[in-house]
């Protein structure tokens, strides 16, 4: 009998209806309640469970206790096994509760975890269990920039059913993104890449920052990797920015890659993983470095978001002809004509990188795209 996990972040979405643009932090949640907000998460989770009902007799449903899953599962006619975690008073659950439940479920050997929440919940899932374990988001939060959520709660249920029945569903690493809520309340949209989660994927059922392309993202990333490896000088070392597209390059070269970190590689060797600015500068003392970078997150930030290790000084010392920008055509199309951005914190360095740049989108395929300074 397959085990399915269910975690509901009971406060997800509470800020949305009352215009608070997010629900992170206890004080925001309290303000939301004071404004008359009603949490959305239980209803959302119930809609997903509705799709799962035909499987009720064939799966074992593990839930977090109380309003974190157990209550709604019972309401929907399931006979859940709640985890024996300490139960909070209603309205006082914390991110640590989500993380705890996620870890307990992977330990219990569930096949998939469904979690109802928003970007913050996805970030907690990713922090707790990384990207090796299949999970899928039921959209319930105010902000959903992350690509780990189904389009609707029902679709989350449908996709889970298909996955649990052993259907032909691919697993895909999807970006966990989050807005800086403080900045957002001031009207600035700044997202950052917080990590990745592994999700069962069906294009029409999953929310995606990217847009349909003829070839799958994996195939495109392979083609980009082939192009860049051909371009790489065998005697040089390269900084590899974060992202799945840069990781595909490392994979093609037979090397490991940290997903959210910056690594240094040659064509056939990993020299250093997850380096900071200081290590990069030290390496630059010894040998020249090139740079391969891809925009991460939804806004097309090339440098200055999620890869600050690649600092203005690093960029100045890597000459422009040794920089390769790579990007999936689907991500470029999703920018809707908006430019790529650099925001290194140093206007002089930003200027070096702005204008029209070549972006590798496939093997011997490039586009010319505008890069602007975000500062």
């Amino acid at each position: 009998m397959k085990r399915l996990g269910l975690i509901v972040n009971p406060v997800a979405g509470i800020g949305g209806r009352v215009g608070l643009k997010g629900s992170d932090g206890l004080d925001v949640q309290q303000r939301a309640r004071a404004l008359g907000a009603v949490p959305q998460a239980q209803e959302r989770a119930a809609a997903a469970l509705e799709s799962l009902r035909p499987l009720a007799g064939d799966i074992e449903l593990l839930t977090a206790p109380g309003e974190m899953g157990e209550t709604v599962a019972r309401r929907c006619g399931f006979d859940p096994h709640p985890l024996s975690l300490s139960q909070r008073k209603s309205g006082e659950t914390t991110p640590e509760d989500t993380r705890c439940a996620a870890r307990a479920m992977t330990d219990a050997g569930v096949a998939l975890i469904l979690f109802a929440g928003g970007d913050g919940t996805a970030r907690d899932m990713s922090a707790a269990i990384g990207n090796d374990f299949p999970v899928l988001g039921i959209p319930a939060g105010v902000k959903i920039y992350s690509a780990v959520y189904a389009v609707t709660p029902r679709m989350a249920g449908d996709l889970a059913v298909e996955f649990l029945r052993g259907g032909r569903v691919r697993l895909l690493e999807a970006e966990v993104l989050d807005l800086d809520e403080e900045a957002y309340r001031k009207g600035q949209i700044i997202t950052r890449l917080d990590g990745y989660l592994k999700i069962p994927y069906r294009r029409e059922l999953v929310q995606n920052q990217k847009v349909p392309t003829p070839a799958s993202e994996a195939v495109q990333a392979q083609a980009i990797a082939a192009d860049v490896i051909e371009w790489m000088n065998p005697d040089m070392a390269y900084l590899l920015g974060p992202g799945t597209t840069t990781r595909a390059l490392a994979e093609r070269a037979g090397l490991p890659k940290t997903l959210v970190g910056v690594d240094i590689i040659t064509r056939d060797e990993l020299l250093a993983a997850d380096v900071g600015e200081r290590q990069i500068l030290e390496m630059l003392e010894r040998r020249p470095l090139g740079l391969v970078v891809t925009p991460t997150g939804g806004q097309g930030f090339l440098l200055g978001r999620g890869n600050q290790q690649i600092s203005p000084e690093v960029i100045r010392r890597v000459s422009r002809e040794n920089i390769r920008v790579i990007c999936l055509a689907s991500k470029i199309a999703a920018l809707r004509g908006r430019p790529l951005w650099v925001d290194t914190g140093d206007p002089e360095t930003d200027r070096l990188l702005t204008g029209y740049v070549e972006v590798v989108t496939g093997y011997h395929e490039k586009i010319i795209y505008k890069v602007m300074a975000g500062s």
Partner: protein, 532 residues
Amino acid sequence: MKPIAPKPMPRRFHQARWDEPVIFELSQPGQRGVLLPPVEAGIKQEVGNPAQALPEAVRRRKPPALPEMSQIHVLRHYARLSQENLGVDLNIDVGQGTCTMKHSPKVNDQLARTPKLTELHPLQDESTTQGILEVMYRLEGMLKEISGMDRVTLQPGAGSAAIYTNICMIRAYHASRGEDKKRDEVVTTIFSHPSNASAAKVAGYKVITLYPDEDGYPDLAALKAAVSRRTAALLITNPEDTGIFNPRIEEFVRAVHDTGGLCAYDQANANGILGITRAREAGFDACHFNLHKTFSTPHGCGGPATGASGVTDALAPFLPVPTVEFDGRKYYLDYCRPQSIGKTRPFYGVAPNIMRAYAWIMSLGADGLREVAEIAVLNNNYLMKRVLEIRGVSAPYAKGKRRIEQVRYSWEQLTQETGVRSEEIETRVADFGMHYWTSHHPYVVPEPMTLEPTESYSKADLDEYAAMLRHIAEEAYSNPEIIKTAPHNSTVHRTHHEPFDNPDEWAVTWRAYQRKTGQSLAPGPTPEERGE
């Protein structure tokens, strides 16, 4: 008397759904379509085994694995499949934007089917094929006039093949100047037909694609950043697939010429500019037409297509062989062209399509061609007005301006408000016996739909199509489930696209299907077991 009430819109429709097996699954060992009488002994003795007359190398060692079926079962199978089909003669075919689906007049089909044409063989002596050679020669002359080019070849078997022919001629041109190694890049735009990028890639070029500026025009500044001494060519469509004409096209051509590159004009979208603008005046070195689009011959599934490549004198030496020439007395094929790129297709062109296109142009005359363009543009702008009245749809770029012959619309607003996507509407459209396609990847225009009404459709046709879209949009807002679970009245099913780029998963032949899924039908008896 009471007036007869008009039929309600959208039209009610129900298509056949036969759940028909693949023909191989219908095979019954020993069944035959036609039983031939046994050969008389005397004849057998006289002729012997006719297979022995064939060279050993071309003789099959074992019979081909074809289905064995009686005639009536074959007929029934294909008649059923034909009922599960939708074609230009059956529906208001405006939904296949960029394809220029127009009516192919049946009289031209009749001409193409006369024994005078069908009984010709391409290897016949020229003295016996003067008629079709004259038609080819004269059609070349017409296309020269329409494009302003100096020569035109009718050899390519499709639009993509014509683009490929053009890029091969451009490559040969650079090679003749010793620059082919140096010039290894081709520039195109994201709203040009994807065939431009792919044909260049097949010819071995690196491809640089330009994205549009805020107004939807190809970005001139990006072009200037893209071109260099490495540029072999610019391959560009105009109007682009958005239906927007690039008013700076001359500047584009000049910027490429300034670096020594050449420019080829993809005129697949020529239907709205016939008799109005020409590739020559915009400075192009080469262009191509799809006879199966602008010149009304049937598309691929109705027979092979035809692409016509036009070039200036500078590229003419590189034309594929043979060219069709006239010496004042007779027409002949000229193979003696030492700089030719050779052949991009066997023989000289798809003769029945050349005949149809020739007849179509002759029936219209020069003024008629211009009228075609004007009506196509009028139809398109009328339909745009009707479509933009529908809730949830928009026409991105060039706000407030008219379009040429097609529009790439976006259902983005409807998707945001109802969750219904363009690909789902596409499936629902089939429930009304109509069609549109969404093959516009990557979706630079979100949730795209491209409509191209051509000159063939009446105002009532366009109203019917718009009424159907309006009905579906209303469903999206009131009852999205009906769209999400479509089709209800049509043959088509929903397909999952994910395996399409995985060679281990997709199968386009029965044999590959069996191999890749690890399944097979039980093998039939061998000829020996059948007593043959």
